[in-house]
């Protein structure tokens, strides 16, 4: 104990002086009253003989009351016989100094330091100076508590720490029951510590250590937390749950850190009423606990977060729908998830005793290792490959592997993270598709062959028609002519006419054969697209039609036409057929007018041929382009009904359209379109696919 804080023992000269004072009442009184500490004189029995004002103030008694009291009346030592021992000591040595506790008139116990002097010479009297050391005691106690609490936080961890801290609080506040809790990140109260025997005693079912903020209500402790202010009562609590221990008096004390409530102390059922002194004690403890608790909570939450993050990782790792593994740089499995075990059929232990090389298909090891080398050399950041594992049962498992390398802080390779996806099903399907494709291809080849055969047949058929049908006609006509020639003298006029009929019909038949062949050819021939000068083409065709135009007065109107892209021969044939028709069906018109037109529109060119000939009835327009369809009698206009069919076939092959309008007796107009250049290319492709006739 620091001597400087203590009043000095009374010197012997002072005692001598005191005796003198007894005689000089005024001086004596002045000295006594001037003392800041309490002072009294008692006799050997302990009876107060003299007191000063400071003592009255300290103990709460008047001088008169004290003079009728004994020192035992203010004694509040917790150790019986302690005071007697002190007195014996003082008598033996003549003086003494010790600390003890005195009770004030109001019952409050205070810590005091007693300095006493005893002399037998002066009628066995004790001269006593009393100093109130409650404050100092408290300070000392606080220091002690702080040390204990520090010690707890340093040496104990987790819930045990809260228990130990609570133990000190309960001890210091002489309370049998108590609670030490903290607020979690959600602001809910967590109580890791409650007096153990209460815990056992407390009958509340579902007594939770966790009090969600939403369930708090407005009893004393939630109030303390919300108001950031302690409260206490020395009255029995009525509002306690059934089965809860009875609370006769209690304090709720929030633990604040930087203006924020972070925890709570509650103490209850002290033997005597809680006083301001208890509050100060708690205040003291809370003030010291707060920063430490804060650090502890921050650490706890960081730990929880880490645990949570680790748990998330573990969950991801374990629950993943794909195989995940950590693989050492030597290829050993360091960590594998269940899915990977399922994929390859090994248990975790079996896998961890192997390397990826052990379960990789021999044909895939080298390419995998090459990737590994590149990854280690940092020439690639990751790699993905399809490869085969060997299942424990020997079967091949196709997987898709994606690998990344984790490096240490030093940059040195640490381990690989591999993601393994089972693609056996996909592989199987791919194989099936491949097989199907192969089959399909085979079938296409067969079909093509069949088609080619059919085309060849058609070819032969056309060839036969052109050769074999003509020959008999030639024979009929030839021999009819010979007959007429050689036997002319024996034939009358009717006979000659009949031979002429035979001859005319063979010619018609020959024309029909030619037209059929031309039509068939129009379907089969390949289009050779070039840019066509349509004006030149029309003029050329017009020239060729000269025999048909002989002795006819026909005006051809030919404005500039947009050039087209198409097959020269085919488009020439189109113009030929349309112009020949126009010439044919304007016979008898004077003057006959044939007007050609052409314009660009959208993605196509539209060409037209208008004539002022016999026209046609629109009722039959649908038949116009049909094969062998004729709208006029043979007597009137010769023809086989193939010309417009050929027009339609050629135009359609070019990707164009053809249509007509007419009116009986007033002429007809024919239109056809050819695609503009860009689209003509696709027309070419179409033409190629529809034409498979090989050239011999």
């Amino acid at each position: 104990m620091d001597k400087s804080t203590m009043p000095p023992p009374l010197p012997s000269s002072a005692v001598t002086g005191a005796i003198a004072v007894e005689r000089g009442e005024d001086v004596h009184q002045a000295f006594m009253q001037a003392l800041p500490d309490g002072f009294w004189i008692n006799d050997f029995s302990g009876r107060f003989l003299e007191t000063n004002e400071a003592l009255c103030q300290m103990l709460g008694y008047t001088r008169e009351e004290l003079l009728h009291m004994n020192i035992q009346d203010i004694e509040a030592s917790e150790t019986p016989g302690e005071t007697a021992a002190h007195i014996q000591e003082i008598i033996r040595t003549g003086s003494g100094r010790f600390q003890t506790r005195h009770r004030r008139k109001d019952g409050v116990v205070m810590g005091v330091e007693v300095s006493a002097l005893y002399t037998a010479k002066l009628g066995k009297r004790f001269f006593v100076i009393l100093r109130d050391i409650t404050e100092r005691k408290l300070m000392e106690k606080a220091l002690l508590i702080q040390n204990r609490i520090s010690n707890i936080f340093l040496t104990v961890s987790g819930d045990e720490m809260f228990n130990e801290a609570l133990k000190i609080v309960l001890e210091e506040l002489r309370s049998p029951y108590g609670v030490f809790g903290y607020l979690d990140q959600g602001g809910n109260l967590v109580v890791p510590s409650m007096t153990r025997h209460i815990w056992d005693k407390c009958q509340v079912t579902d007594k939770s250590l966790f009090f969600p903020r939403s369930t708090w209500g407005d009893s004393s402790w939630p109030r303390a937390i919300r108001e950031k202010k302690w409260n206490y009562t020395n009255e029995v609590s009525a509002r306690i749950p059934k089965g809860h221990i009875g609370i006769s008096r209690h304090i709720s004390f929030p633990i604040l850190f930087q203006g924020k409530v972070i925890g709570l102390f509650q103490v209850a059922n002290k033997g005597t009423d809680y006083t301001e002194e208890d509050i100060r004690m708690l205040e003291n403890i809370a003030g010291y606990v707060a920063p430490i608790l804060n650090v502890e909570l921050q650490r706890k939450w960081a730990e929880e977060e880490l645990r949570e993050s680790e748990k998330r990782f573990r969950t991801t790792f374990e629950q993943a729908a794909v195989g995940i593994a950590h693989v050492g740089t030597d290829g050993r499995w360091l960590r594998v998830n269940q899915k990977l075990c399922d994929i390859v059929g090994y248990t975790r232990e079996e896998l961890l005793a192997r390397s990826f090389q052990d379960i990789t298909h021999a044909d895939d090891i080298e390419s995998d290792l090459e990737y590994v080398r590149q990854l280690l050399a940092a020439t690639i950041p990751t790699y993905s490959m399809e490869k085969r594992y060997l299942h424990k049962n020997g079967e091949i498992v196709w997987i898709n592997l994606t690998v990344a390398l984790v490096r240490k802080d030093s940059g040195e390779p640490d381990y690989f993270i591999s993601v393994i996806q089972d693609i056996s099903v996909r592989k199987r399907m791919e194989q099936e598709i491949q097989q199907l494709n192969a089959e399909l291809e085979q079938r296409v080849i067969q079909r093509t062959a069949q088609l080619q055969a059919a085309n060849a047949d058609l070819e032969n058929f056309s060839y036969s028609v052109s050769h074999d049908l003509r020959a008999p006609l030639r024979a009929i006509d030839g021999f009819a002519s010979i007959l007429r020639e050689d036997y002319a003298s024996r034939l009358d006029e009717e006979g000659l006419r009949l031979f002429q009929v035979v001859s005319d019909n063979t010619r018609k038949m020959a024309q029909l054969i030619d037209d059929i062949l031309a039509f068939s050819c129009a379907g089969r021939s390949e289009l050779n697209l070039t840019t066509l000068d349509m004006n030149a083409l029309v003029q050329q065709v017009w020239q060729e039609l000269e025999p048909q135009r002989a002795e006819r007065a026909i005006e051809l109107r030919l404005p500039p036409l947009p050039s087209a892209r198409g097959d020269h021969a085919a488009v020439r044939q189109v113009w030929m057929n349309l112009l020949a028709n126009a010439v044919k069906f304007t016979r008898g018109r004077e003057p006959a007018v044939i007007e050609v037109g052409g314009r660009h529109e959208g993605e196509e060119n539209i060409y037209s041929i208008r004539d002022n000939g016999v026209g046609f009835d629109m009722a039959y327009v649908a038949k116009l382009f049909g094969l062998f369809q004729r709208l006029h009698g043979m007597e009137e206009f010769a023809g086989t009904g193939v010309g417009l069919s050929i027009v339609k076939r050629f135009i359609t092959k070019h990707g164009g359209r053809v249509w007509a309008e007419g009116k009986t007796g007033e002429g007809a107009t024919f239109w056809f379109t050819l695609p503009a250049e860009t689209i003509a290319e696709s027309g070419l492709r179409n033409a190629e696919t529809t034409n498979t006739v090989p050239h011999s």
Partner: protein, 149 residues
Amino acid sequence: MAKNMAVDILLVEDNPTDAELTMRTLKKHYLTNNLEWVKDGAAALDFLFRRGDYAARDNSTLHVVLLDLRLPKVGGLEVLKQMRSNEHTRLVPVVVLTSSKEERDIVSSYKLGANSFVSKPVGFEEFAKTVAELGLYWMLVNRLTPPEE
């Protein structure tokens, strides 16, 4: 016709009526004295290469071969091809006389070295006219390559 006679027209024609009409026309113009008619390609090749029945024949007087394309056994184009690749017949004039008007037949014939391609008209009048012109041209107008010794 005696197999060793000098022949100046070889008619290769499987259709007897066509052959008759052709020969009748040529006869009218006195062009059939030394005409040989064979009915298929194989016989034509025998004749031309002096094989079998025609081993003793003289080739030097052959003015023209009237060759149909559609023939039994060996086709007309094949006959033409073999003629053109044979030393003794490669310069013999060949007129393809056929019912075909097909472009590919025309092209193939000329590519293989035909001297002329003539479609047989169906009408007898035109037919007779065409054949007569042909005969007169090749027999009387055209000059043969001098025989190689």
